[in-house]
């Protein structure tokens, strides 16, 4: 099941540079939430704080708190590695492990963490994860061939299968379709929509049609100037953001007016 996320007064830094300032928001469980905004406004940066991926970058730090079902992910007794098992991530460019087969890629999260599985358990996980990612029928006859032999769209769905094999409660997706053709994009969008009944999904996108197609709620981020931190401008029902936003900046952005 999806879990609810509450972000409270979050500031995000790269060294001394503040990339995101004072974000507070609630992300509803079992819904798709879209992040939109101009390039450099900190969407990716903020997204990566939700599974504590941000701190894997050199000198990157965070102030504030993020609660996952009331549990502060940034409290000292939380293990960031464990957080990343509960909050899965799909990246902009499909990144299957090139040394592994399709099957091994799906099982990667479990195997890399040294959990042992019986053959039957492994088969079960591979099948349900690939089915969950709408990929099973396309690859069921070549599970042992190399993952890099697939099309970009298939690779991206494999990455989604790999993420859901870990049975996370939240899935973060950073522009998951930007490297894909329109047909693969449609396949991934359908998948995102289906997944939202079981997971909390956060998706960053530059494509506003995509945001309105897949998401129930949308958050708009903006920067006042280069070198200034990004801020959350407005967050609301997607239909409201795209038809009748309350903030002038949001209005300008979605209608294509800048500055």
């Amino acid at each position: 099941m999806g879990q609810r996320i509450d972000v409270e007064h979050l500031d995000v830094f790269y060294g001394k540079f503040m990339a995101v300032e004072n974000v507070s928001m609630t992300i509803n469980p079992n819904q798709v939430t879209a992040f939109i905004g101009p390039s450099g406004c900190g969407k990716s940066t903020f997204l990566r704080t939700i599974n504590r991926m941000h701190e894997m970058t050199d000198k990157a730090t965070v102030k504030g708190s993020i609660l996952l079902e009331g549990r502060n992910l940034y409290s000292s007794e939380i293990d960031p590695v464990q957080v990343r098992r509960e909050v899965g991530m799909v990246f902009q460019r499909p990144n299957p492990f090139p040394t592994m087969s399709i099957r091994q890629n799906v099982l990667a999260g479990i195997k890399l963490n040294n959990k042992s599985l019986t053959k039957a358990q492994a088969d079960e996980i591979v099948e349900t994860s690939l089915k969950g990612a709408n990929l099973f029928n396309e690859v069921k006859d070549r599970l042992d061939s190399a993952a890099i032999g697939m099309s970009g769209g298939q690779q991206q769905r494999l990455c989604i299968a790999r993420a859901i094999a870990m049975k996370p409660s939240v899935l973060l997706m950073d522009e998951p379709c930007s490297a894909l053709d329109p047909i693969s994009t449609l396949a991934v969008e359908d998948l995102i929509y289906e997944l939202s009944s079981n997971y909390t999904i956060v998706i960053v996108t530059h494509n506003m049609q995509q945001a309105s197609r897949v998401s129930q709620r949308t958050a708009f981020f903006n920067i006042s100037d280069v070198g200034k931190p990004g801020r959350l401008i407005e967050m609301d029902q997607t239909t409201k953001i795209f038809s009748n936003p309350s903030n002038q900046q949001t209005e300008n952005y979605i209608s294509g007016k800048f500055g």
Partner: protein, 342 residues
């Protein structure tokens, strides 16, 4: 070789053909009346310059290949005389002067293999772990820049100094007569470690960051990510680096002369007694010069230049070793580069 010739072809097709086409166009073009004569002079000059450069490049290619071809020719021609099963399976124990039995290189062959294996055992873990530390853990911090400088300095250490270092280190514990195979291994490690560090660093840097992130994103710790994702991805590249570093040190003579010494018979124990190696064997044989065969009281076969023949044959064996290491290393590397290109 192929690089140079393909470059020639490029030069030919890019400049030669184009300028010819250009020439034709100008001639056929009505406008050619209006083109100042000086522009034709310039193209002619350019063509002459092209030809001159082609000749120059071809000549330098020939000059470079002369020593290469002649080395291969001389080593093979001189070395083949003694390469027999007997030569490869016998030591120099009991061989006297230029008389038959002529002896062989078994002890040197085995010694070189054992000393090199010892050097690999010492240098591979140290080299790879250092590279992992530098690339994965200490990127850009103070300690890493210090270690990087040290590695640069270390790669410039003359091989004889590496030998002195290993000898004196063992002499410290076992006295001045401490000459063993493992001491030679240590000397070679000093020479191998910087090369292994550099090549491993290069291969680790080639592993796309996306893969590390994919692994972290699955809740895999950094350590396990390095062991299970980064190293397997870089594996063949690291192997290439190690092979090439072995190829570079396997012919070292001076440090082995100091540390492992020279002996006539087979020694299988790296930790006790002198141990022969191929380069030292070659040096030893050649430096003894011609044998005296005039006073043949034994009535046995005698060859006055037998030592030179043995030296050349041992050189051929060493040469083959190095060529194999290089070939295997570069084929793996080529395969990796091809994969990345895709």
């Amino acid at each position: 070789m192929s690089k140079i010739s393909s470059f020639r072809v490029n030069l030919l097709s890019k400049n030669g053909l184009k300028s010819k086409v250009l020439f034709k166009n100008i001639k056929n073009n009505r406008l050619s009346k209006f083109i100042k004569p000086s522009s034709r002079v310039i193209s002619r000059q350019r063509r002459q310059f092209d030809n001159f450069m082609k000749v120059l490049i071809f000549l330098s290619f020939i000059i470079v290949s002369i020593p290469l071809v002649s080395i291969i020719y001389i080593v093979v021609a001189n070395g083949l005389t003694q390469i027999t099963p007997y030569f490869l399976t016998h030591t120099m124990k009991g061989v006297m002067g230029g008389f038959s039995p002529f002896g062989g290189i078994l002890h040197a062959l085995v010694g070189t293999i054992l000393i090199t294996l010892g050097a690999m055992v010492i240098s591979i873990p140290i080299g790879i772990l250092t590279a992992i530390y530098l690339v994965e853990y200490a990127k850009g911090n103070k300690l890493s820049s210090i270690v990087n400088t040290l590695v640069d300095i270390m790669s410039g250490v003359p091989s004889i100094v590496a030998g002195l270092f290993a000898y004196s280190l063992f002499a410290l514990f076992f006295g001045p007569t401490a000459v063993f195979g493992i001491s030679g291994s240590l000397a070679l490690s000093v020479l191998m470690i910087p090369t292994i560090i550099r090549s491993t660093q290069e291969m680790l840097n080639l592993v796309p960051n996306q893969l590390r992130e994919a692994s972290y994103g699955l809740g895999v710790s950094k350590f396990r990510t390095i062991i299970k994702v980064v190293l397997p991805t870089a594996f063949s590249g690291i192997v290439t680096g190690v092979l090439l570093s072995i190829a570079r040190v396997i012919g070292e003579t001076a440090p082995l002369l100091l540390t492992a010494g020279s002996i006539d018979s087979l020694n299988l124990n790296l930790f006790s007694g002198r141990m022969m190696s191929l380069p030292v064997y070659i040096y030893n044989e050649y430096s003894q010069g011609l044998a005296v065969c005039t006073n043949n009281i034994f009535g046995a076969d005698c060859l006055s230049d037998i030592r030179m023949q043995r030296a050349w044959s041992a050189a051929l064996v060493l040469f083959i070793f190095i060529i194999i290491l290089n070939l295997v290393g570069t084929t793996i590397k080529k395969r990796i580069l091809k994969k990345r290109g895709k």
